[in-house]
Amino acid sequence: MAELGERQTLEPLILPRMDNRVRSFAAAAVCLFLILLIPVAALMAGSAGVAPDFTARLVPPDWAHWFGTDQMGRDMFARTAKALTTSLWVGLFASACSVLIAVVMVLVSAASGRWMDALVSLAIDATIGLPHLVLLILICFALGGGPFAVTLALALTHWPRLARILRAEVMQIKQADYIISARHFGKSWAAIAVGHVLPQLVPQMLVGFVLMVPHAILHEASLTFLGFGLEPTSPAIGVMLADSMRYLTAGKWWLGLFPGLCLLLFVLCFDAVGNGLRLIFDPRTAQT
């Protein structure tokens, strides 16, 4: 299964001559910078990308409009920047909630014994046993779409993989001598979970969080593309690509190419940052 812990890295390919780790950190730093640049670009664009300009409809890319304009004359570059900013917020917020769900689930199952543990593992199985996208569609169907629904749907669907990783970690920690001795001193499992186990999970949580964001962003775009996510009027990659479908056969290629390409680069950047973080927090993968 495509676990978060088994992801491959790209950075060694970008700067082949530097040392492995220097390279990874450099890539992570550059990518972080690029990610932070997007909201700034969106802010600087002002009303461009949102306000229609019917004198400049469907203009191919040129110097004034780097990515061209859409059917309502909106600048695609500014619109893409705004869309990615939305994606960023949705992705960050949803992932944070998802990590929280995973941690609470795992800690509760660790603190309250066999039955709860079986229940959590069943919940993980049930969530994984359903295609992500179908569950997302169901939740958005239930909540009627919009940014809130999307964020909640993403938060409710992305926790199982991290929960599995954390659960394995907790199992290990629970076996540690000092935990067992704390138990003998009469500390309750709840106190141990919060006092001893939680702090040890922080690195995994952080790495899991950053690596979860790209997944969440991709799913948000897919969901919006299918018509279940963000409103069809808001600037979002999914909306832009869904709209572009009507103009592709007429040869308006830029409508389909750029938003997707930017989304791809955005996701790659996040992954690079996540891998840089893992290098710091997870020394096991850092040994070679």
């Binding site: 780790r21 220097v22 040994q287 070679t288």
Partner: protein, 265 residues
């Protein structure tokens, strides 16, 4: 007649130190010894002293972050990346340390055939069955997967696989670990027998006492350094014939010599 020689041999690993800095950690230093035809040379050292790395270095199967210096020669020819392909399996063979070195998903007979093919030896069923028989292994053992064999059988199977290429030099890495005395004896006398057929045997072990009856010479390794080379027959009496203090201390500390802890070591 020198078969294998290590001279001025050392080994270090490149490791990460903190987040970005890397450093070289030396593991072996100044290793020098020779093995002649008809000889069993025991390489004795505590666990973790880097003995197995010496075997791996001879076969060129060290991990990629290892750095080697000094020279290893077989029949006077340097052993390196260029010459190794023609040497491995054909001129020198390894008896691996543990069962994990056998392919877990293939039956033993198959692996024996692979080893024979890799060494360019006949791979027909009769020859191989006869070879197994010499190690007291029957058809059932051949049909088993490695994990299904008992400890002693697994060790004999590894010996069989290592010797099927009829190499001149045999390096046995801890061939008696985990074996009871009886099985250990079988394995060691097999190795002695090979040496008596004019082959060279390097016996890597942590147990001086077990190696002595079968070895001609003993090289002692401590903390990655050679602590002297002794004739096996010098380990006798109070150890007056031993040249190095470490060897004497080791000898006197053996159970049959009354666990004397030497003060001058």
């Amino acid at each position: 007649m020198t078969l294998l020689s290590f001279s001025g041999f050392g080994l270090s690993f490149r490791r990460y130190h903190g987040l970005l800095a890397s450093c070289e950690t030396p593991v072996l230093n100044d290793i020098a010894f020779t093995i002649g035809r008809g000889e069993v040379v025991a390489l004795v050292g505590a666990s973790g002293s880097g003995k197995s790395l010496i075997a791996h270095a001879a076969f060129g199967i060290l991990p990629p972050n290892a750095r080697m210096h000094g020279s290893i020669c077989l029949d006077g020819q340097p052993v390196d990346e260029r010459t190794l392909p023609a040497l491995r399996g054909r001129r020198m063979a390894l008896v691996p340390q543990s069962i994990s070195h056998l392919e877990p998903l293939a039956r033993c007979a198959k692996q024996l055939r692979w080893a024979a093919r890799r060494a360019g030896r006949p791979t027909d069923r009769e020859t191989l069955a006869r070879h197994l028989e010499a190690f007291g292994l029957d058809g059932d053992a051949a049909k088993a997967f490695p994990h299904q064999l008992s400890g002693g059988m697994a060790r004999r199977m590894m010996m069989a696989i290592a010797t099927v290429g009829d190499a001149d030099l045999l390096i046995a890495d801890e061939p008696t670990s985990g074996l009871d005395d009886e099985n250990a004896e079988i394995v060691l006398s097999k190795l002695r027998g090979l040496a008596d057929q004019e082959k060279g045997v390097l016996l890597i072990t942590h147990s001086l006492a077990a190696a002595l009856p079968y070895a001609d010479r003993v090289c002692l390794i401590r903390n990655g350094r050679m602590e002297g080379e002794e004739a096996a027959c010098a380990f006798d009496g109070a150890g007056e014939g031993l040249r190095s203090a470490y060897a004497r201390a080791l000898w006197q500390a053996l159970p049959q010599n009354g666990f004397q802890v030497a003060h001058h070591a």
